[in-house]
């Protein structure tokens, strides 16, 4: 009966956009000469990306620049401008974000300054489980335990979930209807990937014998549970 409650909690209200403010903001900048206008658009886009807590999507940026402005060209110019800075503009998880260049990772670690990134808090085993979810999704906790040959605890799954790296996917059609887990957009963003296609090639890993979604899955000792049709809500 626990399965009924979860979906109702999740319905979020979409925040109302201030319809009035949209009209007042000058996006087109008609009165400026083209060069100055382009400069202003670049600055605006960079400001938005700098201020944002998460990767900024194309639609968001389109709200602050003119209609016929190519965002890709703006971004190219910005990337160009940041060439000799220790941070860069990267495109992750369907948006853009400011990131410090990876060659300064050691420097930042040595300074032990508190940073925004959450990836550092994962233990080695947690990171491995997360990687397995990335490749095998949708995958249940039981299947993950099979892959690693040791118990993947609920706490660990809870941690990954709490960090926003994984979410729940379809119910697995096995006894008990366990939830499967899938990676989220935040996972892509945190690990600097655009889409799941960017995961290192799974075929190569399988050929190397590093991964196999074990043949002994639950269905081999299928228990007949006839009464247990789960009730789904639309």
């Amino acid at each position: 009966m626990t399965m009924a409650g979860s979906s109702t909690v999740r319905s979020k209200r979409r925040p109302d956009k201030g319809a009035g403010a949209e009209g007042l903001y000058d996006r087109e900048l008609e009165d400026l000469p083209p060069v100055v206008r382009w400069r202003e658009w670049m600055l605006r886009v960079e400001a938005v990306i700098f201020a944002s807590a998460e990767p900024v999507s194309r639609e968001t940026l389109a709200r602050v620049v003119g209609k016929d402005c190519s965002i890709d060209l703006l971004i190219d110019d910005l990337v160009d401008e940041l060439r000799d800075r220790p941070y860069e503009l990267v495109s992750v998880a369907g948006g853009w974000q400011h990131r410090t260049r990876s060659r300064f990772a050691e420097t930042i670690r040595a300074s032990s300054a508190p940073t925004r990134g959450g990836a550092a808090t994962l233990s080695e085993f947690e990171a491995m489980v997360l990687m397995a979810v990335g490749y095998f999704q949708p995958v249940t906790r039981g299947e993950l335990s099979n892959v690693f040959g040791r118990e993947v605890s609920r706490d660990l799954i809870g941690n990954l979930r709490g960090a926003g790296f994984i979410g729940s996917g379809p119910r697995s059609p096995t006894p008990g209807a366990p939830y499967t887990y899938v990676t989220t957009l935040h996972f892509l963003s945190a690990f600097g990937m655009e889409t799941l296609q960017d995961l290192p090639n799974v075929d190569a890993l399988e050929d190397a014998g590093l991964l196999s979604k074990t043949t002994t899955r639950e269905k081999d000792f299928a228990v007949r549970v006839d009464a247990g049709e789960p009730t789904f809500e639309e």
């Binding site: 655009e194 049709e229 639309e234």
Partner: protein, 317 residues
């Protein structure tokens, strides 16, 4: 249950297969021969769609599932049709069906929707098939528009479309083939698109003469390959239609024998969707009533259990 009374047409309003004389003999033919065969094939399918039998939704859904499985293979995933079906049907609303399940959502979106191809539609499909959005993808609605405006015959307009999309984004082949089907439907003024090209992606039509390579968009042989793929696609679609028609007739014949209250919406879903989970979300039936209904239908051999499991059952024609 009167609404489901079969109208008993005197003769089938559509032909059950592409006429044998229209099919190309051998694979070593030229573009004109292929275009002729494609034309006859499209007409055969057109007859079926104009006849508008009540089970057309189920038929489209099954073809979409097949496309999704092919799309998964194209992207290097290993999921079979049953895994895709499970992923979509067993996901609670608001959860994420995973990358493979999303492919099925994408192909299903392509067949369930009618109307012009807008930027937001392309964006949805791109998100579902895991494509990075950029200006190249943003230009696709314009490419689609010019394909629709194009004065060429449908198969060639479609080949041009796929070539144009592949030129901007070579990794967007799933999207290109899906949109090609949408353009084809628009050209033939069908209300919704029918998956014909995606299921044939690994078929013989796209193989090169030697049999080793594959014809790629932009190559001179590509329009011919598209024509042949359409012929093969239509043949497969008609085969599937014949089987579904037989099963649908069986289902409609036993409907008067059902005494479950509220069975109507379930029957309608069986005809409109390729697969229905045993709990029938969204219907007024309790899960016991739904179970009994499906068991009775199974007893009449009007539906099949599709997953082969004894729990989490999925039923369909």
């Amino acid at each position: 249950m009167n609404s489901f009374a079969p109208s008993t047409p005197t003769a089938p309003a559509w032909s059950h297969r592409v006429p044998g004389w229209a099919l190309p003999r051998g694979r070593d033919i030229n573009e004109t021969d292929a275009a002729f065969a494609a034309g006859i094939a499209m007409k055969s399918l057109d007859d079926l769609i104009r006849a508008d039998p009540p089970w057309l939704g189920c038929w489209r859904d099954r073809l979409a599932l097949k496309s999704a499985a092919v799309a998964a293979k194209m992207l290097g995933r290993t999921e079979e049709e049953s895994a895709l079906l499970d992923a979509v049907l067993l996901t609670v609303a608001g959860d994420d069906p995973g990358p493979a399940g999303k492919l099925f959502l994408a192909t299903r979106m392509l067949i369930r929707r009618s109307g012009p191809v807008t930027t937001s539609f392309v964006k949805d499909i791109a998100d579902l098939s895991g494509l990075r959005w950029d200006d190249g993808l943003a230009s696709i609605p314009d490419i689609v528009d010019s394909a629709i405006q194009s004065g060429r015959a449908a198969p060639f307009a479609v080949a041009d479309l796929i070539t144009a999309i592949s030129a901007v984004r070579p990794d967007a082949e799933v999207l290109a083939l899906g949109l090609a089907e949408a353009v084809l439907a628009h050209k033939l003024s069908w209300p919704k698109s029918v998956p014909l090209l995606l299921p044939e992606r690994f078929g013989p039509s796209f193989r090169t003469i030697g049999g080793r390579g594959r014809v790629r968009p932009g190559e001179p042989a590509y329009p011919k390959a598209i024509c042949m793929a359409l012929v093969d696609g239509v043949e497969a679609a008609l085969r599937s239609a014949v089987e579904i028609e037989r099963r649908a007739a069986r289902l409609l014949a036993v409907v008067p024998k059902l005494r479950t209250k509220g069975a109507g919406p379930v029957i309608r879903r069986l005809l409109n969707d390729g697969a229905v989970p045993a709990s029938v979300p969204g219907s007024s039936l309790s899960r016991w009533a739904a179970n009994r209904l499906f068991e009775r239908l199974e007893g009449f051999e009007a539906v099949r259990e599709l997953s082969g499991r004894s729990s989490f059952r999925i039923f369909g024609l």
